[in-house]
């Protein structure tokens, strides 16, 4: 018996051709152990039944394929025949590892995708590099809205935070290149500090089930993964330039990859964006311009048995906040609500003035992995992140506007070790530990009371997950995780609040010293959190499968929920956290039914998320100050229930015509107080008609319709307020959501030139085709101004 290895190493360099039937699947079959090509392997594409043999170099090419997911059957006299699924889509490089045990071959199916799914029993929706390119000039939050069940919490047009099945902020965990982002995500106006162009793929896991990343993702997980680098001697790059009418700006992003057959690689990438004031159908949104500068570099080697990778990325953005949204108290808000147009409208400018944000984020990471024969793969990672957030307010002395009102530096060091066990008899497992140290520094030079106090936090966590394949059709997975956190903060409280909340009786040990109206305290808090998951994947046949997942997630309160106290200028409201908070615990049950076929595919995913001690921020009344009255928003804990459904479908109408549909709805209820939860995204449906042909330069035309319903379930937090200006008692309506709206978008793309060595593609995007005037419930600027009007954007995409 030969004990030769049939480790197949397939490098599928799929030549990038639009959504058509001229795609070419090419690849190489390599014997893993000696890197020698496997000659004469039969490769069959199931469905079109196209077949070929690998040549003397192990290479093969299959032409004339349509984009889509295929099953590949690879047979070789010395190896076991196996089928695996491969998604042919643009320039996706697919890396496939084959092992000589049947059981280990199972894994190939999962790994057959360029990017591995974290879970078997929960849905993972992914944006391809082609889709990401469309949002190259935009933000992560905007791009993700394409995925059903994902919406966004916006502050104006540039700050966009993803919302997954109704939940956002600290409930969403962002894994950027394998590193958990620590970027002060607790703030509603804090967008993820990620350059969307650094991603090869972005995927969303709607829930906390992927315990290897954390146990506190009550809402879900967003994974941003780099493009796979093929193990071939090559140098390639891509450059994307786009210019837009609305905002009168442009974005340029470029990346260059050098790879070697021996596994070494280096990737350099950078992005520049600059936009001026954006416009609604009727007026300029003054001071909404932004600028972004990002760069990243990674290098290392991947020799399959072991590998090392170093990654560094820098992100810097400067974002203007709509001038008219910077207000005094409730009286100003009332004026803004009464006015059809924003109270400040100036001529278009590129200048970004206060109020504005300036954020920089450094991420450095070192990762090493090693595979142990018969055991599995050990991965060690250290990463460091530094997030520096500056927020500038309009000050009384305008010359002082250059001095930030918020100046926070958050440094995070993390170390993790994970061990992935080889699959044995259908069983596979993964265990890991993580340790994290975080330090927040709030610069006192601002002369403004700290919104977030100085603190340090230490976290330790450990998890174990396992999955078992009962047979070809049924597999199950389960896991648990434990996390310990210690928070050590120094905070100056207003003595009046400290006493009003009875903190002086509950936490006398935290009191340090009194300074006039302020009290220095030293809170030290410990949290223990357990999380767990269990799920089943049942495949009826090739086309149909059913997933069920249960997850238990525990999230400890974030610094904002614990320590907020005082006027949050950029939100024009007083926000008060609660030092007494414990963790929130979510029990989520999700089901998913999938059908996948060439003509008709769909998935239907209902879920219910029961959250105990859910932390939410809600207006509770008004407080009189020298600046007039301000709303007081207080954090409270309650029991919440979110249930909803996401639906996706894709239908092939004709050879070159396809339609795509999605619909999502979520209902959120405060079970304790028997009322609707605040800021739950309204139901929405996205429908698309796509024409694509291999002729006329891979012409692709798409028409997209987006309908967002009116949110009719919301808590009524309106209060009657006496307004001195009008000498009348008025109801300031901050609760009623805006009306439903319907937007049409248009997209077209065509190859200008295409040769063996490079391809230049031109794209035209028109969003809000009919220049519709609308406001969105989850946009904090809805009180002051309309959303964006029509936009024309031209994109030039060069691959070389």
């Amino acid at each position: 018996m030969h004990n030769y290895s049939c480790w197949l190493f397939l490098l599928l360099g799929i030549s990038a051709v639009g959504q058509n039937c001229q795609s070419t699947l090419s690849g190489k079959t390599i014997d893993f152990h000696n890197n020698s090509p496997l000659i004469g392997a039969t490769v069959i594409v199931v469905g079109p039944e196209k077949a070929t043999l690998t040549d003397l170099n192990g290479n093969f090419t299959i032409k004339g394929l349509c984009d889509g997911t295929y099953r590949l059957q690879i047979s070789h006299p010395e190896c076991l025949t196996k089928t695996l699924s491969v998604k042919i889509d643009g320039e996706t490089f697919v890396e496939i590892h084959l092992e000589h045990h049947i059981d280990q071959l199972e894994k190939v199916v999962v790994k057959g995708n360029a990017f591995e799914n974290a879970l078997k029993s929960a849905d993972e929706k992914r944006l391809s590099s082609k889709e990401i390119a469309r949002y190259s000039a935009g933000s992560l939050g905007d791009a993700l809205k394409k995925i059903s069940g994902v919406s966004s919490l916006n502050t104006g047009s540039t700050i966009s935070k993803p919302v997954i099945q109704g939940l956002s902020g600290s409930r969403i965990l962002i894994m950027n290149h394998g590193t958990r982002m620590q970027a002060q995500e607790w703030g509603a106006e804090h967008a993820p500090n990620v350059d969307i162009n650094s991603a090869g793929s972005i995927s969303v896991i709607k829930g906390a089930a992927a315990l290897q990343y954390g146990g506190d993702a009550v809402g879900g997980i967003i994974k941003i993964e780099p493009e796979r680098v093929p193990r071939i001697d090559s140098l390639y790059g891509k450059t994307l330039f786009s210019a837009a009418r609305n905002g009168r700006g442009a974005s340029l992003t470029s990346s260059l990859t050098k790879s070697y057959k021996n596994g070494w690689f280096a990737v350099l990438q950078g992005t520049l964006k600059r936009f001026g004031d954006f416009e609604t159908p009727e007026y300029v949104l003054s001071n909404t311009g932004f600028s972004e500068k990002d760069a990243s570099f990674r290098f290392g080697f991947d020799k399959y048995t072991h590998g090392l990778e170093a990654y560094y990325s820098y992100f810097h953005s400067e974002l203007g906040i709509l001038s008219a949204s910077h207000l005094g108290g409730i009286e100003d808000l009332f004026r803004a609500l009464e006015s059809e147009k924003p109270l400040i409208i100036r001529d278009f400018t590129y200048k970004i003035d206060a109020p504005k944000q300036e954020v920089s984020h450094h991420l450095a990471k070192l990762k090493y992995f090693k595979r142990f024969k018969n055991w599995g793969k050990l991965t060690l990672q250290y990463d460091f992140q530094q997030n520096h957030r500056l927020e500038f307010d309009r000050r009384r002395d305008s010359e002082d506007n250059v001095r930030p009102a918020i100046d926070l530096t958050l440094k995070t060091h993390s170390f993790s070790a994970d061990f992935e066990l080889n699959k044995i008899n259908g069983f596979e497992g993964k265990i890991g530990i993580v340790g994290r140290y975080q330090d927040n520094y709030s610069n006192p030079e601002t002369g403004v009371k700290r919104l977030i106090p100085d603190y340090w936090q230490l976290d330790f966590g450990g998890y174990a997950i396992a999955s078992y394949d009962f047979n070809e059709k049924i597999s199950a997975e389960a896991g648990f995780r434990y996390d310990f956190s210690h928070i050590d903060a120094y905070k100056y409280y207003a003595t009046s609040l400290w006493e009003k909340r009875n903190y002086d009786e509950i936490f006398p040990e935290f009191e340090v010293k009194e300074y006039g109206t302020q009290l220095l305290t030293h809170p030290k808090l410990d949290f223990h959190a357990f999380s767990a998951t269990a799920g089943i994947n049942y495949a009826f046949d090739e086309d149909w499968k059913l997933l069920f997942n249960y997850s238990l997630a525990s999230r400890i309160p974030n610094p904002s929920e614990l320590f907020s106290e005082g006027l949050h200028h950029s939100a024009s409201r007083i926000e008060i956290g609660d030092l007494r908070f414990g963790k929130e615990t979510a029990n989520k049950f999700s089901f998913s039914l999938h059908k996948q076929s060439e003509v008709f595919s769909f998935s239907l995913s209902p879920y219910i998320n029961l959250i105990d001690d859910f932390m939410l921020l809600e207006p509770i009344g008004a407080r009189k100050t020298i600046r007039g009255s301000f709303y007081v928003w207080e954090y409270r804990q309650t029991n919440a229930r979110l249930f909803g459904m996401d639906f996706d479908a894709s239908v092939k109408l004709a050879e070159q015509l396809r339609s795509e549909h999605s619909f999502s709805i979520v209902k959120g209820k405060d079970v304790s107080q028997k009322k609707a939860l605040i800021h739950i995204p309204p139901a929405n449906t996205l429908n698309r008609l796509i024409y694509s042909t291999e002729k006329m330069g891979n012409l692709r035309i798409a028409l997209e319709s987006k309908y967002v319903f009116e949110q009719n379930e919301f808590p009524n937090n309106n209060f009657e307020i006496f307004l001195p200006v009008s000498q009348a008692t008025e109801t300031v309506d901050i609760s009623t959501p805006p009306e439903a709206y319907h937007l049409l978008n248009f997209y077209a793309g065509i190859d200008l030139t295409k040769t063996k060595n490079y391809r230049l593609r031109l794209g035209l995007d028109i969003t809000n085709l009919f220049n519709k005037k609308y406001r969105a419930y989850l946009n904090r600027q809805r009180y002051y101004a309309d959303n964006l009007g029509r936009n024309f954007a031209l994109r030039l995409n060069l691959n070389y």
Binding site: T305, H306, L308, H326, L327, G328, E331, D332, L343, I344, L366, Y368, K370, K373, W375, L380, Q381, Y382, R395, R396, D397, H413, F415, G435, Y437, D439, S442, P444, T446, G447, V448, K449, R450, P453, W456, L458, Y490, Y492, A494, T495, S496, L497, K500, V512, G516, T517, L520, G566, L567, R623, K624, T625, I626, R627, G628, S629, F630, P724, V725, Q727
Partner: protein, 197 residues
């Protein structure tokens, strides 16, 4: 580490060195915590107090309306002291803004005066009083730190004083004291109960 031994020596070294570097970096990071107490911030932009002094033109005692909220946006209610005004009298008014959390108290009226073009006070009342501006910014528009107030018949009601930052002084009626079209951001909004006898 047992498994590594079987493999290539170089990578054993890399792995060990890597581990060492990572572990030491991690612990270095953890021990670098500065337990120093952060310095106190006294809100610089804070205005705790507004004093409106009213000097009767025909002589008599100066009246002072006082609004004081020492804990700013804290949960304590402000203290408001008013006075009884004389009927059919013209007062010369002056506004003084203070931050009394600092020692000595900071006079914030000076900042308003310095940036007079970007600020304007507005007065509204339902006690039959007439107010007029008696000062000017560099463009000849009113600021409203100084004003005149004329009472008529005996009554009671309230006087509201509003300071707007970046008002549109060229909008209709604004220089006459009509706040309707002024726009801008409210920096001060204080209401005093008024009794005219």
């Amino acid at each position: 580490m047992k498994f590594i031994k079987k493999e290539n020596d170089n990578f054993q070294k890399i792995a060990k060195t890597g581990l060492l570097v990572l572990t030491s970096a991690f612990f270095a990071a953890c021990s670098s915590d500065d337990d120093s107490i952060p310095e106190i911030i006294n809100e610089e932009e804070l205005i705790t107090t507004m004093k409106v002094s009213l000097v009767p033109e025909n002589g008599g005692e100066t009246l002072v309306l006082n609004f004081q909220d020492l804990d700013g946006d804290g949960s304590n209610e402000p203290i408001i002291d008013s006075e009884i005004l004389a009927a059919n009298t013209i007062y010369s008014g002056t506004i003084l803004l203070l931050n009394e959390t600092t020692d000595p108290a900071e006079n914030s009226t000076l900042e308003v005066a310095e940036e007079g073009e970007a600020h304007q006070f507005f007065y509204s009342n339902n006690a039959g009083m007439i107010t007029n501006y008696t000062d000017e910014d560099s463009n000849g528009n009113p600021i409203g730190i100084n004003f005149s107030l004329e009472t008529s018949a005996a009554t009671s009601g309230s006087l509201t004083i509003i300071l707007r930052h970046e008002p549109n002084k060229s909008a209709e009626g604004v220089t006459d004291g009509n706040i309707e079209n002024a726009g801008g951001e409210t920096d001060i909004l204080v209401t005093f109960p008024i009794t005219v006898e």
